[in-house]
Structure formats: C-alpha cells, structure tokens
Amino acid sequence: MTSRITSQVLDQDIPKGTSLWEDALVRLRKNRLSMIGLGFLVFIMIVCLLTPWIAPYGYEEQNLRLGAIPPSMQHWLGTDTFGRDMLTRIMYGGRVSLLVGFIATSVALLIGVTYGAIAGYAGGKTDAFMMRLVDILYALPFMIFIILLMVVFGRNLLLLFLAIGAVEWLVMARIVRGQIQSLRQQEYVEAAISLGLSPATIIMKHLIPNALGPVIVYTTLTIPNVMLLEAFLSFLGLGIQPPESSWGLLISYGVETMEEYPWLLIFPGLTLTTTLFALNFLGDGLRDALDPKASRD
C-alpha cells in the first residue's frame, strides 16, 4: 500500500544524535495505557521507597490484643493475627517483592540475553554446546539447589534473588537464541559485516534491538514468575525471614485464612495483580515503542 510517510516535524539544522531509546520514549509517551501503567508503577515504587518514613506503623510493631481486625479508621486495611497494620505490611512487602522482581529479572535478562545472543550468533558447535549446558541446568533439581545455597552461604536476600534469576535466565536464553538465529540471516547484518563492524557491535547494535520484542514480552511474564517463586520459597522457609514479608508471602498466608480474615488475602492480592497489570501494559507499550513500525498504527 502507500508508504506511510508521516509528516514528522523537526527543525532542519540540528538533529540531536537520536537513539532508538530516545525515540521509543517519545512514542511511549503517546501510549496512554502504558503511561498509566508506568505512572502506577512509579507511584508504587516511590511509596515502597519512602515506606520507612511514611508507613503508618512500624512493620513489626504488633499488638497481640488487636489481632486480625477488619479494616477500620486506625487500620485502613485491617490488621493481621499479630495485630500488625496490613497497609504497613503491604508497603514493606512491596519493597521485597519489587526488589526480587527487578533484580532477579534483570539478572535473568542480563545472562539470558547475552548468552542466547552469543550462542545464536556463533551457531555451529559453540551453539550446540552452550545449549546443552542450558539443558543440563534446566533439568537440575531446583529446590535442592536453593536449599544448598541458602545453607552454604546463609540466608541472604540478594543471594535469593540471584538464585532465582539464575534459574529464570534459561528460558530467556532459549528465546533470544532463536531470535538471533533468524535475524543473523538478514542482509543488514551482512551489510554491517561488510562495514567492518566487530561481532560484538553487530550483536549489540543490530541484533539485540531487533530481538527485543519477544524479550520484553517474556520479561513481563518473568517478573510475576519470580515474585511468586519467591513467595513459594519463602513459604517453604527458604526465602525471606519473618517478620519481613513480601506480597507473595502475604498472599500465601492470606489464602489459609481467607474465610476467617478475607482482607488478609484481598488487599495483598489486589496490590500484586494491579502492579503486574501495570507492568504488563508498560511492557506491551514498550515493545510497540521499540518497534518503529508498530508504533505508527
């Protein structure tokens, strides 16, 4: 059909050294849904960041006599069985959940993308070998692995995040590899080679940006994954230490008492879900923004 030449107004003389990312940002701004998502996330993050100062109560401040009371004026979201303020708990829980979500995921991203990209670009024996390695890790007994880590290195949030990330990167690597493999046949890669670009630059500048779409989508799926994984591990006692908490953990406890004290489940549940939704919208928006074609429809 007609080549869609949109009239993009810009001052003739100085085109600021533009990068895909700067453009993406411009485009992202146009996407209402993802801006809302972004806004919400930022809000949540700020709240979690400021929690120690703005939280209505201390996070382990308990009043056993005020155990598990429904939402009220003093406690907007009610209290848990220790009489700890739910709102406060959720705010503190957010710190952990977001941390694990982002650290673990970025670990997964970092390792997965680089590894996958290298394997996909190199191809041949290197590729085969690297992928077998992934298979091995993929088939390892994850829980024993974590138990061991936790015991050998002692309980340590960062470690937990790393451990989770170290598991999640496998799938990421697979996806990226697949993408790169098909992209590397493209003529613009040949063109880049004929310009004399080093493989590293080609991967960074020409291949990865074009593989971003699926990566982002998968990332938006990974973040919930790791959050829930953390919850599960904590529930088994391999994760974070009480009285600290996380959304996942709050939920998993809320589940057990959902009939007696529904608010212990509902509020953390809502928070988590909304956050993940926001994340998802942002993710989709980002994917479109990073794809010059898509963002024009």
Binding site: M1, L10, Q12, E190, G196
Partner: protein, 539 residues
Amino acid sequence: MSLLQVQDLSVYFHTRNGVVKAVDGISFNVEAGKTFAIIGESGSGKSVACYSMLGLIPMPPGKIESGKVMFQGQDLLKLSEKELRKVRGKGISIIFQDPMTTLNPFLKIGDQLMEPLRLHFGLSKKEAWQKSIDILEEVGIKNAAQRMNAWPFEFSGGMRQRVVIAMALVTEPEIIIADEPTTALDVTVQAQILRLLKELQVRRNIGVIFISHDLSVVADIADEIGVMQYGKFMEVGDRDTVFNNPQDDYTRRLLAAVPGTQKEATGESNAPMVSINELVVEFPGGKNQDTVVAVNSVSLDINRHEILGLVGESGSGKSTLGRAITRLVNPTSGKIYFNDEEISHYSLARMKPLRRHMQIIFQDPYASLNPRMTVYDTLAEPLLLHRICMRNELEGEVFALMDSVGLSRESVLRYPHEFSGGQRQRIAIGRAIATKPEFIVADEPVSALDVTIQAQILDLLLELVERFDLTMLFISHDLGVVRYLSDRIVVMKEGVLVETGSVSEVFETPTQDYTRALLDAIPGKSLLEGLAVPSKSPL
C-alpha cells in the same frame, strides 16, 4: 458487450493522517480474450482498484466512495459478502505477484488447487483431483499427478507461479486479474510465464487485467493500456498508441525509463583493482545433502574505473561471487586480490581496514536496512567506525551524503519503513559510499524497484561512479539494465563464467546459446526495436 465494465470507481483510505485517494474515479472495460494492462508505480492505486472490486481490501480504513463495476449483469459493488464470494475465484480470479508468499506453505498443492473446485462446483474429491491434474499439465507442470502431493516449497519460483496460475484458471473464470505476475521472476522464466498466460487467454478466451509497473513487460501482451498515477488514469489507449505517441508525459517518462541504450564503453584496461583466480565457493548442503558448488573455479579481473556487469539467473552463483569478493562468504579455494593484496583468507580483524575501500549494495532495500535505525544512525555508523570525520562534523557529513544520494534532509530521523523502496535503496547506497570506497559490489540493486525508480537509481549510480571514480561490479539478471551502464559484461551460469566481453560483443555477437536465450527473454524487445527511445533518460 464487454465482460467487465468499471465506471468511475473511487476508493479512499481513511487513515489517521487523513484521507488517501487510492483510486480516484477510474473507468475501463475488459473484453473477452483481450488483455487490459494497468501500468503504474507502486502506490499508484492499480492493485487497490482491482481488489476493491472483489471486496478484498481492508475496510475500514478502505472505503468504496463511488462507482459501478458491472460483471455478469450485476454490480459487484452492491453485492453482499456472500454473493461476492460466488464471484471470487469462480467468475474472477487473481494471480498475485509473489509466488513465494501467495501459496499456503502448510497445505499441499493439490489441496489448494481443489479447494475452489469443491467450493464453487461441489465436485467430489475424485473429480476435483482429476481436474486439478489436467490444469497443472496445461500450465506445463510435468508429471502433475505426483506433484499434486508436493509442498509449495518444493517448487522453483517459476513453477510456483505456474501453480498459482493453474489455481486461478482451475475454475475456468471469465476474467483473470494478474497482479505483477512476473516481477519476482528471472527474465527467461518471465518470458515463459508471459507466453503461457497469452496462450491460455487465447485458448480459453478469457479477459485479463494485467497489472504491472513495467511497460516493457506488457509490450508484447497488452491489447489496451491504462497508465495510472495517483489513483487516476493518465492515459488509456490501445497499445500502439500508448507506445508510439504517448499523450501524457508521465507515460513518456515511463517509456524513457525503459533502460534502452548502451553506455559508451570507457575501456581503459589498466591494472585490475580486483582479480580473482580459480575461485571456488562451496556450501555444506544442509541435512545429508552433498555440498553445493555455488562458484566453480571462476577467474576474473575487474579493472580500475570500470563497471563490470555480471549477468545470470537466480541460482547461477552470481551473488555468491559478489559476496566472496567482499569476503562475506569464505572462499573454499582460489585467490582473491584486492589492489594486488591477497585477501582470500584474511581474518575479520585484518579485513577491517580494507572494508572501508570495498562496499556492497544489496538487492532488497527492505532487508538490507536495520529497521530499528534511523537514516541518521545508518549513515553515521560507517563514518564513526572508520573515523571518516570528527563527531562535530558528523551531521554535516551525514547531510552531505543524503544530498549526494538525493534524500531530503528532513527525513534524517526517519526509520526505513517510512520510505519507499527507491528511497531505501538510496539510503543503502549512501551507507555504501559513506566510507569513500574505491570498489563497490552492487548486487541486483534495482531489480526490486519500479522501472521509473530503477532508472533513477541507475542514473544515481552512474553519477556516483563518475564523481568518486568508483569501480563497480554490477550484478543483475536483467540484461537491459546491465547493458545500460556496464563497460564489460560477464555471463554466469551454474557457477561458471560462460561468456565475457564488451557490451556490444555480448549483445550483437553472443557466442553461447545461453546468452542468446537471455537476450531473447528481454521483455518488450519489440518495443526496444520498434521505437526510438531518448538516448538519455530525462530524470
């Protein structure tokens, strides 16, 4: 009473950036046994016009504003979807441009052929099967019976197009819409397909609407021609009138664009810049197939300041040769000299400094540009990489490049998909000349473009060759094009050089049958001989 009467058809697209008048009040008739050719560049609305008649355009955004399309005594535009479906494929069927993508890769040829038969005539599987076989044979597919069970990818491009044609004919429609049916094919194949179409049309007395951007293609087959631009007919008339005294000057431009003349040879045969010796390139044949010899001990010199035309059909190994010279593929054996320096087995690192002196332009301007880099990034990359200029001069340099390849400066921040094919190719060329190379391999740089654009790009190349006194290996399957700008021509077939010589030698006294075959295949030869073409294209 003609088969199809189109009156004042208008189709608009209501997009976010306003209304696009894709088709703007066109009228024409199609007679039985006659061919009506619609000529125009991509975006001129020629395809939209035809698809809209059958309700095959996306609506919204598309909308049929006005008009009447009378077929079998009914106005197609007034028919319901259900009734239209009875016309589609039965009364009117379509042959699409790219045979590679128009067949469903997940269904066997047979299924796809039988589908319309069973749908429209409710034939039994057996009957449909037999009929399909017949039609396949008719379009010249050997031992059709087995081929029925073959998958699309098992056919070569030409064969596929035959299948597509068979699919269009199998329901014995009264009208066939052929939308650039040969553009994606090699010249010789193109010739065959055109011939086939003509035969079938005559035999079955079908009305054909032939859509193309290339006048020369329809020269032999069209009875009536409509030249289309911006959704309007610039000129409608019978073939000879249009060719011999074109009324509209857009038509003249189209005619002019046909690469007719040959370039006066600048035969300074001094020391070769590139010379190849016994070069062999093999590919491992994938899953348990024996290795493919793409280039088979080719020896060749490319002299300084000359444009060497390399002609051959797809699969002849011409592209591989080009890539081997630029070391994008590794030679199996033989030697490659660049400025007397043997580079056959240089490592990536050692190649890097040389890269700046040898560049390559690819066929497909869609695939050869990184969709996520703006023009600016694309052009700046080589400049920075090879330190052609300081950062602060960068913008100036980029703009200079854009000027020299004729891109408007304001598009500097746009992404490839926002450009037309021609403009993209200009970007690609800009990238190639950015490093001020001495030697450029141009691999089918124009074969994906409309003729008018082709002409422009060819002229651009010539101009650049002059300005930066470049040496060029120009690879193409189109003798016409090669002849237009080459000093010397080599013909390649199945990995071997079959003929070498100056343009005039090759064209006037070809020594090989293969070469002759190629020459005969040039479309619109009649036209080329028939009429005088301005020796320089006015673009």
